[in-house]
Amino acid sequence: MTARPQPVDAAGTGGSPGATRSSSGAGTGAALPAVLRAIRPRLRWRELWLLVLVAATLIVGAISLNATVVTRGADPDLGLPSGAIALHGGPLLLVYLGALFIAHLAQVVAGRRTDEVLLPAVGMLGGLSLLLMARLPQDLAGQFGGLAQTQLVWLLIALALTTTAAIVVRSDRWLRLYKYTWAAAGVGLLLLTFLFGRDVNGVRLTLDLGPVSGQPSELLKVILVIFLAAYLSENRALLVEQSSRLGPIRLPPLPYLAPMVAMWALALGIVVVQRDLGAALLFFAVFLILLYVATARVSYVAIGVVLFLVGSWVMYHLFGHVRERVDIWIDPFSDPRDSGYQIVQSLYAFGRGGILGTGLGNGLPAVGGRLPIPEIHTDFPFAALGEELGLIGVLAILGLYLVVIERGLRIAAAAADDFRALLATGLSLVVGVQAFIIAGGNLKLVPLTGITLPFVSYGGSSLLANAAVVGLLLALSDRGVEPPTPPRKARRLARLFDRGAP
């Protein structure tokens, strides 16, 4: 039996998409510069239709918000911004929707066959974030004017980053080859934060770089996924082999256990040094998921979970800040006015929301001019949305995160090699797990940790890091150049055009 070679579909297999492209465009594009010749617009109807739905939803939301605010009037006791500022949310939203459609157009012009669901899903989350920020008191935070304006600026930069990555990134060599450089950069970032970071609320997370300050742990999670994907795809075959045994448990070859222990130590280090429980939990969870995806060995996950439990137990007994977090989680009502205040108020907010919610702009009565939940714009947007949109709205938001995960796994399943598959899995799950950790924290399902709700929380570092994740996912989802259409008619035409060419 002899296999016949199939015609090549150079389709992103790392072959040469450029070659196929230039051969078909040679007849018409000879006079055009090389850059323009490569451009072949490709319509994206699904994305356009979904974006239209996003726009309609958000506009209805803005009308509902503004109508509520105007009707109730500017009541300082309600913690609402005055009517004029809230109406300001309208133009902001229009700018944001415009940017979404520009991002769509840019991708149409670029003509890559990339995913058409991710941008609308993430765009909806960003729009909800904008509505929420326009509705909160504007003096909470902000480098560029009020809260909503600053969030809009970051959202626009994030959209630009996503679109640029989706259009420009064509090769994964620069990610794959320099994996140890990436890892070193990540560790360096961690050390920098430790040495020169600024303590905010007792947590050393913020790094000031001149006028800009950011949270490196957000960037670190992207770097970590890239490194793990490169490392695991390279050593997959070796990790699957089982050479050493420890009693009844079969272990991977011992030298390859080293990164596992290193990851564990890194996670513990983040807890001890930076007091950042959320990031530690996120990193370790993503590491275990990727390890399982790469090797399909449940025993590794079991070892990881045991390591996690041991680490947690030791941490609980050694460090006060860990114990405090866990105690608050178990019984926030033991100290409802001080340490348990945030969670108690968050639970009340969900309770007030009920099934249908109080409506945008209708929730969150402030007590004595104080914000109902401290840090509501970064750590508790899920509780705020839970109050105003109710159970129904919260389920829809969780659904949007599930959509992001599904797309990531789908991209991974269709990926050309192990590295791309692991990268797509890791990128989508890092977003999903982060959303779960903070949503679970707001709901008192897991101990509360101070990480952001991806795409919704206020803050530049979080938005930019998650935008990079979506951009990379879009680039990875490229299904390559469309297979040439076989009918004879086109061939004859092509022959006509190519006549005279060598």
């Binding site: 039996m1 939803t57 070796l238 129904i392 959509v403």
Partner: protein, 145 residues
């Protein structure tokens, strides 16, 4: 309940309805996409992409879909015929066992190489890695869906 409160309530509900309309549209796209992927036949376990072949057979740039056992060599009875001066008649066998690919050198004169390293007996090979037989270089790839 007066008119203003009622209309505010309606607006709220319309917003939630739109949110779910969007989710419904997204899910419909996803389901269609999954159905389309499920319809495609999934016979091949992997594929071998020819990176370079100075002899011209196999043609550089061609792709071979792989079964669980694939033999490579200069003999016409091989699954993939390699017409190269440095290839033996029965050069190597590529097998898919369990979850991983293995390449076995079947006593060739000039050796089989995975990522530039000579294979001694059987060696694991994973997706994205390079297999060299004679002067012909292949890359093992995941089957595309």
């Amino acid at each position: 309940m007066d008119a203003i409160t009622l209309s505010l309530w309606l607006l709220r509900i319309v917003f939630l309805v739109f949110l779910y309309l969007f989710l419904f549209a997204v899910v419909r796209v996803l389901v269609r996409d999954l159905r389309a992927a499920a319809r495609e036949p999934e016979a091949e376990l992997g594929r071998l992409f020819v990176i370079a072949s100075p002899g011209g057979e196999p043609l550089a740039g061609s792709v071979f879909p792989l079964d669980a056992i694939t033999s490579l060599g200069r003999d016409v009875n091989n699954t993939i015929l390699i017409d190269d001066r440095f290839a033996s008649s029965e050069h190597a066998i590529l097998t898919f066992r369990g979850r991983a690919w293995y390449v076995e050198d079947t006593g060739s004169t000039n050796g089989t190489y995975v990522n530039g390293e000579r294979v001694d007996g059987v060696a694991p090979i994973s997706y994205g890695e390079e297999l060299q037989i004679g002067q012909v270089r292949f890359r093992l790839e995941r089957s595309r869906r």
